[in-house]
Amino acid sequence: MLGFWHQILAGVATGGIYASLALALVMIHQATHHINFAQGEMATFSAYLAYALMVSGVPYWGAFGITVVLSFALGALIERVLLRPLAHAPDLTLIGVFIGLLLILNALCGWIWDFTIKPFPSPFGSRPLLGGLVSSAELGTIAVTFVMLLLIWAFFRFTKLGLAMRAVAHNPESSRLVGIRVGAMLALGWGLAAAVGAVAGMMIAPVVFLDPNMMSGILLYAFAGALLGGLDNPFGAVLGGFLVGVIENVGGAYLVGTELKLSLALAVIAFVLMLKPSGLLGRAVASRV
């Protein structure tokens, strides 16, 4: 029984990573109506930044903070430089830009830090806690992702800026009519998504080790989580990310073995989407005219 609960908690820990990345995907999707294929590589690049800072002697949490801030700035910069000029470009152009960004960031990581796999420190150690129910690394990851998701939620729910960003996601035209600077909100959204991705990258790097392709599989799970919960609903995406993490872990341990756990997760998602195509919490606005 202890083993079962441990699998659940380990699933919540990786699920938190998927949930964070799924949230980042949803935030960009709301602004651009596209999946940012480069979200994983952006997170990888951030993890490399943190690595570089730590190698040059900055302590873990200092490197963590600086990386989040730098990633935010880089995300906003990507919106300004790459996306803004393409605001009215056709869909295919935008998809091309995302794929291009993915390749560039991937190559950049390899070029600056080479392609060899590197260990990445965890500040939480790996002691078993509560009689083996959970490891300190898992518990630390869970705590960090929960605090981050809570902060993001509070920002969107309680601040004027957060409200303005939600307004822009729903209705950019009306947002302009009330005086909101839509361009600034979009840049802010990219910045936040990049910062959230950076945290996810730094949390997963000790588990999968640092290499330019470390996020490709993770992004697939995150995308699955976002689809499962509803691509247009941030709560859904977060919930979906956690569910995918738990299904993957528990299913891998008890049902199908680790080789098939990705297939199992994807099968569950396909099943849910057949019943409810907009995802578990996908948009269903009651409306009258």
């Binding site: 409200l163 303005a164 729903h170 302009r176 005086g179 009651a286």
Partner: protein
């Protein structure tokens, strides 16, 4: 006295299609100008051109200052509130959030005062604060749209067919409130309306738009007596 809004030789369109071919109109301080015309004449496009949601050329002055080079968000920040075609409500957000967005550019103290005043005109909104705006009735949504616009504390209100799709009794209510808004808040209104009789009753000035050109303009009572207007729009 400089009029609140002066529009001269305004041209606008969608892509290569020109819709407005050089329009002149004005709204006096705290005045109401009605913009009448058949479907497709370009009334909605005129309002969009003023608030900058379509590409436009020509001269637009707000109390003498050119605003034709301003982006939409800056036109709004200068005190032009546009209740667009289709109301422009944030349907997925709550009534309360819609109202907070209306006051987005205002300092908190002003916003609280304006909110109290707006609830005086539209008490029903106060009891719907937590409700998702998309679930309101048509009349309530129109009230919310006007309330949201008023919270910008505008000098000029652009209203696009506020009576559209509403029961006559609700339309009467909304028009009575508009009369009051002009008197109390001193807001100028550019009113686009299908119901010409109603609009001419409320407005002091009126213009008649036909395929992107103003064909008749003048005081509202003069237009009411004009044969063209009477035959085509008033039906007697």
């Amino acid at each position: 006295m400089t009029p609140l809004l002066v529009v001269r030789n305004l041209r606008a369109g969608y892509g290569a299609t020109a819709v407005l071919h050089g329009i002149d109109l004005a709204v006096a301080e705290a005045g109401i100008t009605a913009l009448l015309g058949a479907n497709g004449a370009g009334k909605t496009t005129t309002l969009r051109a003023i608030s900058g949601t379509v590409h436009r050329r020509g001269e637009i002055r707000l109390t003498g200052e050119r605003i034709d080079g301003c982006r939409t968000e800056d036109v709004a920040r200068r005190g032009v509130a546009h209740v667009p075609d289709g109301r422009g409500t944030f349907r997925e957000l709550t009534v309360d959030e819609n109202l907070r967005l209306g006051a987005y550019t205002r300092p908190a103290a002003d916003a609280a005062e304006d909110r109290a005043r707006v609830f005086g005109w539209f008490p029903v909104l106060r009891s719907r604060l937590r409700q998702q705006a998309g679930t309101l009735s048509g009349g309530e949504q129109q009230m919310l749209a006007i309330a949201r616009a008023l919270l910008l504390r505008p000098r000029l209100l652009l209203l696009d067919e506020p009576s559209f799709g509403l029961a006559p009794i609700v339309v009467g209510e909304i028009f009575a409130i508009m009369r009051d808004i002009r008197r109390v808040a001193g807001v100028g209104i550019l009113l686009v309306e299908q119901n010409a009789a109603l609009a001419l009753d409320l407005a002091d000035q009126a213009c008649l738009l036909e395929t992107g050109r103003i064909v008749v303009a003048g005081p509202a009572d003069v237009l009411r007596a004009d044969t063209t207007v009477r035959r085509s729009y008033l039906g007697y």
